[in-house]
């Protein structure tokens, strides 16, 4: 008898894709964002009682209507981007730091302490002191759970989460101590503007923007082209492999999480010294959580995070603007819903990047015959798109190759410059070989 007849073929089956092209990944994400926007707009149309064009006018106005909104918009983009960047190295190591909010608050608190007590300092002295304080404070705040993770394997997700609330209470206590009998804490040093980050031209947040963009590039290089970044990805892939390869995993994890917290602390510094000149328990808002999804949805690519931050902030700022112009039944939480829709579409689209759906043979035959018909009707269509895709892929590969070649050149040049008799540097190939061996052994198991 035919065996095939007995086995019931499922309607649809899921199969893992191998590697996918950059173009395909981008295409899926763009489609997801497009549908999310449509969905969010439909929701806004329903609750705000406006037409499609009105909604989009207000959405765009929310980010661009005048120079103040533009500055505010880009500041928010940069701060969201900074937290996403901060969390990335730790995530790549599979260390779930969901305490970004707390680390930002502690950085902000450190800056506030300097600004509150250091009245006798010079302006630049205060900025530098608070900068260092915030970085160290944020780093230590994140390193505490990391140490317990590596020493005792304590669950880092909950540990960092609880640290958020401890940070919130610390900030609340400081505010209550500083404000005395006043109803709220006033801005720091409003008369002397001591410790305020200077503006560039008439852009109040110019320094923040430049710093964050520089950090984006540096972090990209750090993750892709340094020994540290390599170690981080090995630890993330397999802790055992890293140990067999002779890496000091304890030190790598604590160091990387410290870096993660330090960048969050820096974000707190920017909030207090560069934008709010004030601290509150809601200083970083819900960015600690949004940033996690931004970082993950961009597959830990800093430039992807930049694009996603731009879109997310556009959505939240735009929605708030729609709310302002709509009838008064709406409130600021509308932005949570539109951004939430965007988040879920981004999470969902990852499925289409990692898996493909295999339909049963009957259905597949139908699809095939249909696509054949289209092929016959417009044959140039497929070849045209294939050429475009190949071209873009080739360009990207070329750029990547150019970067890595030039970086290698730069590295050797620098080594020559600083250490004339430098010892044999790269051991990475050896480590890579070990990793490969390990993987093969794993397969044979």
């Amino acid at each position: 008898m035919n065996n095939q007849a007995i086995v019931k073929e499922p309607f649809v089956r899921i199969k893992r894709r191998g590697t996918t092209s950059f173009l395909y990944r981008s295409f899926v994400r763009i489609v997801a964002i497009f549908f999310a926007m449509l969905f969010a707009t439909a929701f806004l149309e329903g609750v705000a009682d406006m037409s499609f064009s009105e909604i989009w006018k207000y959405l765009i106005d929310g980010a661009t209507v005048n120079s103040t909104t533009r500055q505010e918009y880009w500041k928010e983009v940069m701060l969201l981007l900074l937290i996403s960047l901060a969390l990335t190295p730790a995530f790549k190591m599979k260390f779930w730091n969901i305490g970004g909010q707390g680390q930002v608050l502690i950085g902000a608190l450190a800056t506030s302490i300097v600004m509150f007590y250091g009245k006798g300092m010079s302006n630049s002295g205060m900025i530098i002191t608070s900068f260092i304080f915030s970085i160290v404070a944020g780093g230590i705040w994140a390193a505490i759970p990391a140490i317990f993770k590596v020493k005792l394997n304590a669950n880092e997700t909950l540990f960092t989460l609880m640290m958020n609330y401890i940070a919130i209470q610390l900030v609340a206590a400081s505010i209550d101590a500083w404000k005395g009998k006043a109803s709220a804490l006033p801005q720091f040093n409003t008369d002397t503007r001591l410790g305020y980050l200077p503006s560039i031209g008439d852009n109040t947040y110019g320094i923040i923007m430049i710093c964050v963009l520089v950090i984006t590039v540096i972090l990209y290089l750090y993750m892709k082209h340094t020994k540290h970044g390599y170690e981080v990805s090995v630890v993330g892939e397999s802790l055992k492999t890293a140990k067999y390869a002779g890496m000091n995993t304890t030190w790598i994890i604590v160091r990387t999480v410290f870096l993660s917290g330090a960048l969050c602390g820096l974000c707190g510094f920017f909030y207090v010294a560069g934008s709010d000149y004030l601290i509150s328990t809601s200083t970083s808002g819900s960015y600690g959580f949004t940033a996690i999804i931004v970082s993950w949805a961009a597959s830990f690519n800093p430039f992807g995070m930049l694009i996603l931050s731009i879109i997310m902030t556009f959505m939240s700022k735009g929605t708030l603007n729609v709310v302002n112009y709509a009838s008064n039944t709406l409130n600021q939480y509308t932005a949570y819903i539109t951004v939430g829709i965007l988040l879920f579409f981004l999470i969902g689209c990852e499925f289409f990047i990692q898996y493909r759906m295999v339909f049963n043979s009957k259905l597949q035959a139908k699809f095939d015959s249909n696509s054949e018909k289209i092929h016959k009707a417009i044959p140039w269509w497929f070849s045209f798109w294939k050429k475009v895709a190949d071209g873009i892929d080739a360009c990207i590969a070329a750029v990547q190759k150019w970067i890595s070649v030039n970086l290698a050149k730069l590295k050797t040049a620098l080594i020559k410059l600083f250490k004339k008799n430098a010892p044999e540097q790269p051991k990475e190939e050896e480590v890579e070989a070990v990793v490969k061996d390990e993987k093969e052994v794993g397969i044979h198991d």
Binding site: M163, I293, T329, Y333, Y336
Partner: protein, 330 residues
């Protein structure tokens, strides 16, 4: 004594909110899914319970309707949150932490937005109260019988949701420990591949555990709105903090429903310690009170460290917690 009783009674109501959240999460985590969307599901439940009660009150005064419909709505809203989470993590195999956080984000958004929307649409400025429904939910044996002795005040003066939470915990304990269904569920949490090979329908169990767990979490929101806030709608962030405490309580109770009962009351007592310090003849100023409010979180961290120190086998999380199962990966 009277001050202790008032501390205890407020803690029991508050603790029940956490307990529902934690019980739902224990059920979910037993199937191997770490759902960080608990605050979102509690918020969804709170919103659905409040909105249905508030809107129904303007149409009817039938106590049975006012009792049942909000209960069903809150459960359904929480279950819907669980369904969304499960669709993404089981069917689309998305990362569990990320999906959970997104669910929290969306749940808090929908809850806060919807609650205010309903209140404003009904013509109130910022605050409205579903008082008739709340009074039904707050009816207690002590009140009905006119009992005022300390024992009845401490144990009999609550609405039925408080006792329902304990019943749910006991039922969960029995199902998880004494029945085949519970054994299957636990085996999926430990090793889905083994369970699959043994012929257990992994996907079905995961869906059911998460959806029912979400529904139970949703009841926490209902308790918060109708009993703790006495029917008033607040957009305070305290629901979100409560949701996270529920996640912490799961660890505190080492994934055992019965431990969640006393754990939740302990958490609530610690939470309200700063306003009830006079029980121990202590007095806090504002700053000290802020610092004392850290207590539940500090205790959770200590427990977390303690559990990892002792490494007892029966106190460990389900082995495949947080890992998605894909049959073809074997």
């Amino acid at each position: 004594m009277t001050s202790f009783i008032s501390w205890w009674t407020s803690a029991v109501v508050f603790g029940t909110v956490i307990m529902y959240g934690a019980l739902g999460e224990i059920l979910t985590e037993k199937s191997g899914h770490l759902n960080l969307g608990v605050p979102g599901m509690v918020f969804l439940g709170a919103f659905a319970g409040f909105a249905s009660a508030f809107l129904l009150e303007q149409k009817t005064t039938n106590p049975v309707v006012l009792l049942l419909i909000p209960l069903i709505c809150a459960f359904a809203a929480g279950a819907l949150g669980g369904l969304i989470y499960n669709f993404f993590t089981v069917t689309l195999k998305a990362n569990q932490n990320v999906t959970g956080l997104a669910l929290t984000y969306l749940g808090v958004g929908i809850g806060s937005f919807g609650g205010q929307y309903v209140v404003k649409a009904a013509g109130y400025e910022t605050f409205a109260r579903a008082s008739a429904t709340s009074s039904i939910y707050c009816k207690s044996i002590a009140k009905l019988g006119g009992l005022t002795d300390p024992f009845s005040k401490m144990f009999l003066s609550y609405g039925f949701l408080i006792y329902l939470a304990i019943i749910v915990a006991v039922i969960m304990f029995i199902i998880l420990k004494k029945t085949r269904v519970g054994l299957n569920l636990r085996s999926i949490g430990e090793s889905p591949a083994t369970a699959d090979a043994a012929g257990i329908n992994v996907t079905k169990y995961k869906y059911l555990a998460t959806i029912i767990g979400g529904g139970i979490s949703g009841l926490g929101g209902l308790t918060y709105v109708l009993i703790y806030c006495q029917g008033g709608w607040m957009t305070a962030n305290s629901i979100e903090a409560l949701g996270w405490l529920a996640v912490a309580l799961v660890i505190f109770s080492t994934w055992k429903p019965l431990n969640a009962i006393w754990g939740s009351y302990l958490f609530a007592l610690l939470y309200w310690f700063y306003t009830n310090a006079n029980v121990f003849h202590m007095e806090f100023n504002v700053v000290q009170a802020d610092l004392v409010q850290m207590l539940p979180y500090l205790v959770t961290i200590l427990v977390l460290i303690f559990i990892s120190l002792r490494k007892k086998k029966e106190n460990q999380p389900p082995a495949s917690l947080g890992l998605n199962y894909f049959r073809e990966d074997r």
